[in-house]
Structures are given as structure tokens and as C-alpha cells.
Amino acid sequence: MIISTNISKKYGQSKVLNIESLDIPKGQSFGLVGNNGAGKTTYFNILLDLIRPTTGNIKNNNIIVNESENWKSFTGSFIDESFLIGYLTPEEYFYFIGNLRGMNKADVDKFLRQFEELFNDEIIGKKKYLRHLSKGNQKKAGIVAAMMGNPEVIILDEPFANLDPTTQIRLKKILKILTDDHAVTLLVSSHDLNHVTEVCERIVVLDKGLVVKDIKTSAKTLAELENYFAV
């Protein structure tokens, strides 16, 4: 589904990303881990055509992302709070994104009902603008918006950060159900090794822009990762 060939990104002399090849098959739940500056967000930004790679390209469902924009119709993403429109209420934001993804008001309402548990009564009907929500609640809104309109690819950067424990567990459940039938390709990055091993069937470790590990998740994965990062 997502084929990266010879991707690199240079800022001046420093190479922040250098991936020779990385294929993510359709329906895989894929986790990206690495310390700060490993290149996780850079990779996602290139995948979303928000920055240009210095060399190489990424194909999303056979569409080269920086040549055509057709990938946008089946790709949902949430990178950080700059993906939210601060002066809208969460409802207005969902209707706006829903509209862009071909959902009418009733569709959006129906869609949101699935997430009542995740929202925990803190998002909908609160008469607050997104910019005044807490970091965690902003994140919830952004993640749910990324899932609107049945996307085939969902990209979430650090989805677990800033969430409270209950929400983390609920989100894990939602992500697992989402990827259960292997219809959705899920890309997640995280600093939390526990969560990422639970949600993802494959984990890639980046270090200073390079792929240093590519693991099919098993019972031993968490220990292996902890061992790797305990330097």
C-alpha cells in the first residue's frame, strides 16, 4: 500500500531521514518508534506531502504523493494540534472535515456516536472552542477526525501522548477493532513501547533517520525493544 523508495531528507548538511526502502502492505498496522529526532514525524510529513523529500518518493496506493493529490481522498491523518482549527467548536470541526470527506450532517452524527465512550462527555456539547480544550481532548478530537469518511490509510503521530490512562486503553481498543479485518492500513508513531507493541503487528525502529530494526510483533518484541532503548 505504501512504498517508500530511497527516501531522504537533508537540512543543510544534516541528514534527518534516510530510508532506502520501506513497504507497508495493505491492511497492516504499522508502528514507528525512535527517540526524539529519529525522523518519525519527518517521515509522516513527507508521506502527507507537507514537506518535500530531498531524494526518492513515497507511493500511497500506487500514487506518488508529491505528484498527484488523489491519495488525499482515502488518507486520514492527525499529526499535531496544528491540524485543528482553533476557533471552531469540536462539532463544527467534525462537520467541516466530514463535509470534505463526503459525509452529511446525519452521517457525521452517526459516526460520532461510536466514539461517545472515547469522548467521555468532554468534547461534544461543551460550548468550547477547540483552542480552549485541554491537550488531551484536542488530541481526541483530532484522532477521531482522522478516521472520518472510511479512509484506507490512517496516519497518527504520537496518538497516545497527553491522553489519560482510561482514554489510552479505549483508544487502543478502537485501533485494534479498526485494523482487525485488515481493511485499514494504520501508521502510528509512539514513544510508548507498551502501547505500540499492543496495537501494531509490525514495528520499525528509526535512529537518526535510519531504519535500525524491523520487527514482526511477537511476545518477545517488547523485551527486545526495551533492551534496545536501554542504552
Binding site: R52, K72, S73, T75, F83, Y87, F96, L100, K128, Y129
Partner: protein
């Protein structure tokens, strides 16, 4: 401790986004500052002699004294609108081992040196010097000057006390207005009392300790109030207003563009700065009055009437349009990763500018009072604003590379300004003025008007063609824009 704070102030000042601004803007701002300083200095130095010449039988100091009451009230109103106590700056200090008393004293003490307290000194200092040179008693003038100095500080601290309260503002505003009205209809002449009051200070300079005592009392009240509120859930808290969800479903009739139009309306209404732009555009409606009531322009510089005519209907398009797409800079990345045609985003902005120009044009109909020629100029200006300026502003917007944080204040906020904003004035104002100037000289008034309207109509007719070009330009610059909007000042 104070030294630490001063060092921080120094760094805050020189590392603020202000210094990152383009050279053109810096020059302009220095120019404005100089303009104010020089005007006040000129009034301060020349004021005495001017009053002496105009009213030879009266004492200039007494005239000044008689109107001081209005100056002070005006100062208070001005400060109420513009000056806020900079409490937020101490938030990072709350958890450091610094006594809260020190912080509060620091914030209050710093406000004593605020810019607002210095502007009027540019008048009082030279005026006092002139008074002494002209043979007034040194003690009297010094007492008067000190009293002024303390009154400025009194107003400074009074403002912080009443600033949270809208009722206080209305009381002051209504008092001022009624005093002016009473004065005008000769019912009560407050200036007599004002003069008596300040004359007494000149006669008894030691009385200047009264305003000094006032400063002391107000400082103490401020201190007490602020000291009890230095908590995250109180004075230091950022205020959150309740969301108002107005029904915008009427916009649905615009089809594909509707969600963007709804967003833009919310953008304008829910953010201070855009709201200011919106409300100011109605003030620009009156801009024409300055020009159309002055026969000099009609006789000698008719091209300037075109300038005014453009502003009458173009206030919104110009002020809003010049910062497209920076209004959306905080969520630009999201827009770029969504399944949208950039065209719709641009169409929505275009629609807003055109709709507002049309509304303003409708409201400008009373200008018919100044004659058909004037109204024809406004009409041609409106067509030009709709046809040419709206498209040109969109095109120029693709050069905008400065982020705008919408939640930052409105008035006097220059964030997002770059050389682009100055360069666009040339075609937007220059082309119609030049066209009119040349054609009205060579052919006649009507030819000039028709030429301006024709340029506008051409823009309307070929709108889609130009929009295609503009859209391509925006898409070409996409990465540079995303990168630039990511840079927080």
C-alpha cells in the same frame, strides 16, 4: 532580583518578533513613533506662543489648565482601551523561589514606566521649560509639572483598577460626553473649575503632594488586589469565552464552497484581530467624507478622490485580503492534507471580499448627497475592487510568508506584515489613480471613470481564468508556505 527581571525584559524586547520584521516595516514604525514625538514636542514648544498670539488677553497656562480635565479623561479612556497590566509575563516565575510580593511590585512598578506614561511628557516637559523661560515662577511651574507627572501615574494605576469593569468604562465615557455636551450648550462650564483647580497648584506648588498621595493610595490598592490574585486560576489565567454557535445553514446554498465560507465567517467573528478588520471596514465607509468635503481635492487633485472612493467600498477587501492565506496559517498543514481543491479555499475568500464590497457599496449610496460624480467614482471604485483588487489580493497573498496567530490581540498588531503588504498598494491604488489622472486630463471625467470600471469588469469576466493562474501559484508555493507558517515568532 530586579536586575534579573530587567535582563529578562531586555531579552524579551530584543528577541521578540518585532525585530524579526522586515526593514520596511521597521522604518515605518520608527517613522510613526517619531511623528508622534515630534508633534507633541512641537505643541509643547510652540503651544505657549500660539495661544499667546491667538488669545492675547488670556494667560496661556490658564487656557491649558482649563482644558486639562478633558485631557485627563481622554487619557483614561485611551488607556482603558489600549493598556492592560502585563500580568501574564510573571507566569513562568510563579514556581521559582521568588516572593510573590516582589513579583507584584515588579509588575506594578514596571507599568509606571510604560510607553503610555511617556507620550504626554513630550508635551509637558518642553511646555514647562517655555513657561519658566517666559518668567513664570520656577517653583510654581515645577509644582505644576510634578502634579502632572503624578496625575499621569494616578491615571495609570486607576486604569488597572477599573480595567476589568465595563461599567466603569461607560461611566467615564458618559461623564466625558455629558461634560462636553454641557459645555457645548453652555449649561455648565467645567473648564472654569478645571482652571481654578490647576491654577491653585501653580500658586501653591506644595499642593502637588496631593496627586502624589493619590498615586500612593492607588498603588497600594492595586497591590492589594493583585497580590490576592496571583494564581493560575485568577489574574494569571488566560480567559476562555463560551463558544457561540450561530446557525450558518443559510450559507449552504453556496454549494461546494459553503463549508469554507462558514469557516471564514467564524474565523472573522471569533478572533479579535479579524473582528477588528471586519468592524473597521465600516469605518472606512466614512473615509470619503474627509476628501469629498474638501474642495481642494476636487479642484487640484481629483486623482485623490479616486483613492478615497476605492477605500469607501474596499475597506474589508484590502484589510482582509492582504493577509490571505496567513489567516489560516495555524491550521494550514491540515488544509493541505485534506481532500479539497485549493480552488474552493480561494473561492471562499474571493466570495467574502466581493460580498463585503457589495454590501459596503450599498451602504455608500448616501454619498449621492455629494453629487452624481462622486457616486460614479465610488461605483467605479467598487467595480475595480470587485473585479481587479479581489483577484490581485489573492495573487499577492501567495507571497505571504508570515504566520499570524489568531488568538493574539487585534488593534496595532502587525503580525504577518511583510514587504508584500507595502508593495501591493502600488497596483491596488496606483493603477486606478493613474488611469483616472491620465484619462481625465486627456479626455475627460467620464473617460477616467469608464477606464477604471473597464479594468474591473475585465477582471470579473475572466475571473475563472485568473483564478486558475492564482491556484497554480499557490500550489507551486505550497511547501514554502507550510514551512513558513510553521515558524512561530
Amino acid at each position: 532580583m530586579i536586575l534579573h527581571f530587567l535582563k529578562l525584559e531586555w531579552k524579551q524586547y530584543f528577541r521578540s518578533s518585532y525585530w524579526g520584521k522586515g526593514i520596511a516595516l521597521k522604518i515605518l514604525m520608527v517613522f510613526f513613533a517619531l511623528y508622534f514625538i515630534i508633534s507633541f514636542l512641537a505643541i509643547g514648544i510652540g503651544g505657549y506662543f500660539f495661544l499667546k498670539k491667538e488669545y492675547p488677553e488670556q494667560d496661556p497656562l490658564q487656557i491649558v489648565n482649563s482644558i486639562l480635565v478633558f485631557a485627563i479623561l481622554g487619557d483614561l479612556i485611551f488607556r482603558y482601551l489600549m493598556q492592560k497590566l502585563p500580568v501574564m509575563n510573571i507566569k513562568p516565575m510563579l514556581i521559582l523561589p521568588i516572593k510573590k510580593n516582589t513579583l507584584v511590585n515588579y509588575v506594578l512598578g514596571k507599568s509606571a514606566f510604560s510607553f503610555f506614561n511617556f507620550i504626554s511628557l513630550f508635551f509637558y516637559v518642553p511646555f514647562s521649560i517655555v513657561l519658566i523661560k517666559e518668567g513664570y515662577s520656577i517653583a510654581g511651574v515645577l509644582g505644576w509639572f510634578l502634579a502632572m507627572l503624578f496625575i499621569i501615574q494616578t491615571v495609570n494605576f486607576l486604569n488597572f483598577l477599573i480595567n476589568k469593569n465595563n461599567i466603569a468604562f461607560w461611566i467615564i465615557a458618559i461623564t466625558t460626553a455629558s461634560l462636553i455636551a454641557l459645555q457645548k450648550f453652555e449649561i455648565l462650564d467645567i473648564t472654569i473649575y478645571s482652571q481654578q483647580l490647576f491654577d491653585t497648584i501653580v500658586a501653591n506648588p506644595l499642593l502637588c503632594i496631593i496627586p502624589l498621595a493619590l498615586v500612593g493610595i492607588l498603588y497600594f490598592l492595586n497591590y492589594k488586589q493583585l497580590r490576592s490574585k496571583v494564581y493560575l486560576d485568577d489574574a494569571v489565567a488566560t480567559k476562555t469565552e463560551e463558544a457561540n454557535s450561530t446557525d450558518l445553514s443559510w450559507a449552504n446554498r453556496f454549494g461546494d464552497v459553503a463549508p469554507f465560507i462558514k469557516n471564514d465567517i467564524r474565523l472573522i467573528w471569533r478572533n479579535k484581530r479579524t473582528k477588528t478588520v471586519f468592524l473597521m471596514s465600516f469605518l472606512f465607509l466614512f473615509y470619503g467624507l474627509i476628501f469629498f468635503t474638501n474642495p481642494v481635492y476636487e479642484e487640484k487633485m481629483p486623482a485623490f478622490l479616486i483613492f478615497a472612493a476605492l477605500f469607501v467600498t474596499g475597506g474589508f477587501a484590502l484589510n482582509y485580503g492582504q493577509f490571505i492565506p496567513a489567516w489560516d496559517s495555524s491550521h494550514y498543514k491540515m488544509l493541505m492534507s485534506q481532500n479539497i481543491r485549493y480552488r474552493k479555499f480561494l473561492d471562499s475568500k474571493w466570495f467574502l471580499m466581493v460580498a463585503m464590497t457589495a454590501i459596503l457599496y450599498f451602504l455608500s449610496i448616501p454619498y449621492l448627497y455629494f453629487g452624481l460624480d462622486i457616486f460614479l467614482m465610488i461605483t467605479a471604485g467598487a467595480i475595480f475592487n470587485i473585479g481587479f483588487n479581489s483577484l490581485f489580493l489573492l495573487y499577492a497573498g501567495s507571497f505571504n510568508r508570515k504566520r499570524i496567530d489568531l488568538d493574539k490581540g487585534g488593534f496595532t498588531n502587525m503580525q504577518g506584515t511583510s514587504a508584500t503588504q507595502f508593495l501591493i498598494i502600488i497596483p491596488i491604488m496606483g493603477i486606478p489613480m493613474l488611469l483616472f489622472y491620465i484619462l481625465s486630463k486627456l479626455v475627460g471625467f467620464n473617460a477616467g471613470i469608464i477606464a477604471i470600471a473597464t479594468v474591473g469588469l475585465t477582471g470579473i469576466l475572466f475571473k475563472n481564468y485568473f483564478m486558475d493562474l492564482i491556484e497554480k501559484k499557490y500550489l507551486r508555493d505550497k511547501y514554502a508556505t507550510i514551512h513558513a507558517f510553521d515558524q512561530k515568532a
